[in-house]
Every structure is written in structure tokens, then in C-alpha cells.
Amino acid sequence: MGEGPYRKGKEVRVEDKQIIDLYWRRAETAISETAKKYGRYCHSIAFNILHSHEDSEECVNDTFFNAWRTMPPQRPSKFAAFLGTITRHLSLNRWEQYSAEKRGCGQVLLVLEELNDCIPASENVEQVVDDLALTELLNRFLDTLSTDSRKIFMRRYWYMNTIKEIAKGYSMSESKVKMSLFRSRNELKQLLEKEGFDL
């Protein structure tokens, strides 16, 4: 192999920084290295939303092309999260398109139903919050949670894992996961109400 993170006759695991450097050098191996290291991670994010391997594969491929378009100028410090964010965004867009066509599936409807618990009643709110302020509030909210509760919350509402998957992943009962999510949703609702936010 000429360019790229290979040694003769032996494949080595490539650091994120090296992969990002490949993008900056416009080396096409950037995409194959990204796929090798993070293809499955991105696929699982897409699959939790779309429940279709074919659609998930397309979203993952689109993720890599988006990464190609945005680096440079971007140089993400957390490469996995950077890719995952793109995959999640693309997958949710595709899910919206499908749900409009009545082809919705996956965990999204369940997750949306649960998140409805967090929405304050309209009479208690003082301002319609903009996207930036909402994200900032969510960051503050996540910071208040214990590490375990935060991980469970993120696995459910960011990665859209099923309750069962979360329970299995953290070796705990499903009821414990549900209870943790219930408490966290209540806390989020209280914070939104306290700060008088409408969505």
C-alpha cells in the first residue's frame, strides 16, 4: 500500500487523528478507514432509528460523504461523536420522510412518546426557546445527572437503544432502566418549567 495507515503485510488500528489527517490530505483511504473503524457504530445508530439494514447502510455512506465534505475545514476532537451526530441527523431526516409516507418504524415513535412527558404545559411557559438555548439547557441538564443516569438517558434518547439493550449493556434490570429514565424525564421537565421554556 502506498498512502494510508498500513504496514506491509500487517494491518494496524488507526488513530482518529491519523484518519482525520487523511481527510485533510484528501486521501480516499480516509473513507475506507473511517468505515472500518466506525462503520458498525454508525450503522447501529442508523438501524435503531430506521430498522432497515439497507437504509442504514445508505445513511452510513452519506455520513462518510458528509465527513469528506466538512473536513477540512473541520477537525473534530471527538471523531466518533462527530460521525455519530451526522448519522443520527441523516437517519432522523430519513425517518421523518418515511413516517410522512407511513413507513415509520424503529424506536423513534416510542422515544417521542416518552419525551412527551418532558414537555411543560403551555400556560407555565414564558418564552419560546431557540435551538441554541435548548441545546445549552440540555447540556446543563445532562451535567446535573449522575454518570449512570446520564449514560442511560443518552442511550435511550440519543442512540435510541431499546430498554432491553440498555439493560443488557449495563447489566441491570429493565425496570431499573425504566425507573432511571422516568426520573430523568421528570427532572428535565422540571428544569424546562423552572426556566419557563416552551418548545
Binding site: 475506507s32 468505515a35 472500518k36 466506525y38 462503520g39 458498525r40 457504530y41 447501529s44 439494514h53 439497507e54 473534530p76 476532537s77 471527538k78 466518533a80 461523536a81 462527530f82 455519530g84 451526530t85 443520527r88 441527523h89 432522523l92 423513534v108 422515544v111 417521542l112 412518546e113 419525551l115 412527551n116 418532558c118 414537555i119 435551538d131 435548548l134 441545546t135 440540555l138 447540556n139 445532562l142 454518570t147 446520564r150 449514560k151 438517558f153 443518552m154 442511550r155 434518547y157 440519543w158 442512540y159 437503544n161 432491553k164 443488557k168 449493556g169 449495563y170 447489566s171 416552551d198 418548545l199
Partner: protein, 245 residues
């Protein structure tokens, strides 16, 4: 919808929280553990058949005791699957061509008395076939010794609605329990090389890995489901990386 807005806003939270909860992060093993695993493999090469120990979380592993038996498509012949070796051609299964409702695999072992298998599948569906009655199984289920499960590339989406699984690869994950203790696991890969030949594509299988956790000082090792899930993901990741690129 307000909740949809909340869901989208979640997508923009600080990357440190995304990374912290990442299943990949969860599965990540420290570098020293990986080096330990390599060292352990070298020990195996030198001391074939002798148990080896991965330093770190005090997990002693040994070759698996699970026997996975496959059956020929058009005869009574059977074969015990060997790790890393794919099935012979006449053991391949095809929905359109085979008289069986799925690719049959028998899970058995004689090592423990009170054994159960927790079986899950990534892609396709597993089913039981008894007395010409087909029972489709949940994506994760428990079963006992000497069970024959059938893998099919169909997924049931309704009472009589089916969807074809269009991936080229699927995996069967088997975690072996003695009572509440995990005593081993195995990963079987199912794959097709002629997906475009629908509906007559043929599927073969390969036992990717079979591992057991022997008792240490007559005590069960404290193996968590999380540890096993991580190991199995790692095996699949490595296989996929090898196949794709």
C-alpha cells in the same frame, strides 16, 4: 411536534456526553488488556490445550465446549462445526431450494447439568420446527440443551406478513448459562455470496468463536453479560472489517 424538536435538539448536545454513552466506548478495552490478550494467544500457541489467562479482569477462558451441529441440505448427514471453518457446499441452505424452513443448527453440550442457552440473532430470524409446526422466535430467547434452531432470512412483520432480510451477513449469539452463571459463549456467522440471486440465494454458516469460562478454584467466575456482549461485538467487528475492506 414539541417532542420531535426535543429529540432533534438532543442530537446537538456536547460530544463528551455522546462519547461517554457510546456503546463502542462501553465496549472499549484498555490497551494493556489487548496486549494481554495477544500475550495470552501466544501462550496458547506454545502450550496447546492448556488453559490461559487474560490479565486484567481476572477472566480465565478456555476453548468452547459448545457443539454446534449442522445438517446437509438433501441427506441425513450431519457435521460438527469447527471454529473458523465454513460449512461444505452441500450444507448450504436456500429458502427457495431447501425443504427445511431455515438453516438448521443444533446447540448441545455435555459439560454441565443445568445448562441453558440465551440465543439472539442480528439479522434474519430464528425459529423452531417441530412436527411441521414453525414457531418464530423473539430476537432474544432462552432454550435448553440439544435444541435445533433454524435460521431464516425472513422476518415476520405481521400475522402472515414477512419481510426478507437483505443483508449479506447475520450473526447468532449464544451465551451459555449454568443456572445464573455464564459459563461460555459462541458466535455463529451466517452469510450469503449471492444476495442478488433472490429468492434463491444460498446461505452458509461459520462458527466464528466458541469460548468457555472454566471454574476457578471450583467457583464460577463472575462473568457479566456485559463482558460477553463486548467480546462478541469485538469478534463480529473484526470479522466484518476483514470481509469488507
Amino acid at each position: 411536534m414539541k417532542e420531535k424538536r426535543l429529540l432533534k435538539a438532543m442530537g446537538k448536545v456536547d460530544e463528551k456526553y455522546i462519547e461517554e454513552a457510546s456503546p463502542a466506548q462501553h465496549a472499549k478495552r484498555p490497551g494493556w488488556l489487548k496486549r494481554g490478550a495477544i500475550a495470552a494467544c501466544l501462550c496458547v500457541a506454545l502450550l496447546a490445550g492448556v488453559l490461559f489467562k487474560i490479565p486484567g479482569p481476572d477472566v480465565t477462558i478456555a476453548p468452547g465446549f459448545l457443539v454446534v451441529t449442522a445438517y446437509a441440505a438433501s441427506s441425513d448427514e450431519e457435521i460438527t462445526m469447527q471454529e473458523g471453518i465454513e460449512l461444505p457446499t452441500d450444507y448450504k441452505w436456500s429458502l427457495a431450494m431447501s425443504s427445511r424452513p431455515g438453516l438448521p443448527l443444533k446447540l448441545s453440550t455435555t459439560e454441565y447439568d443445568d445448562l441453558s442457552f440465551e440465543v439472539s440473532v442480528d439479522g434474519g430470524t430464528l425459529l423452531f420446527w417441530e412436527g411441521n409446526k414453525i414457531t418464530y422466535l423473539d430476537s432474544s430467547f432462552n432454550t435448553g440443551n440439544d435444541t435445533i434452531v433454524y435460521w431464516t432470512n425472513l422476518s415476520r412483520t405481521g400475522e402472515s406478513d414477512f419481510e426478507r432480510y437483505m443483508g449479506t451477513t447475520a450473526y447468532i449469539n449464544i451465551v451459555i448459562y449454568e443456572g445464573d452463571n455464564i459459563v461460555g459463549y459462541a458466535v455463529v456467522e451466517i452469510y450469503t455470496n449471492d444476495l442478488e440471486n433472490e429468492p434463491a440465494q444460498t446461505y452458509s454458516a461459520k462458527l466464528l468463536k466458541s469460548v468457555s469460562f472454566p471454574k476457578a478454584n471450583r467457583e464460577y467466575q463472575k462473568i457479566t453479560a456485559e463482558y460477553v456482549a463486548t467480546e462478541m461485538e469485538q469478534i463480529k467487528n473484526e470479522t466484518q472489517a476483514g470481509q469488507r475492506w
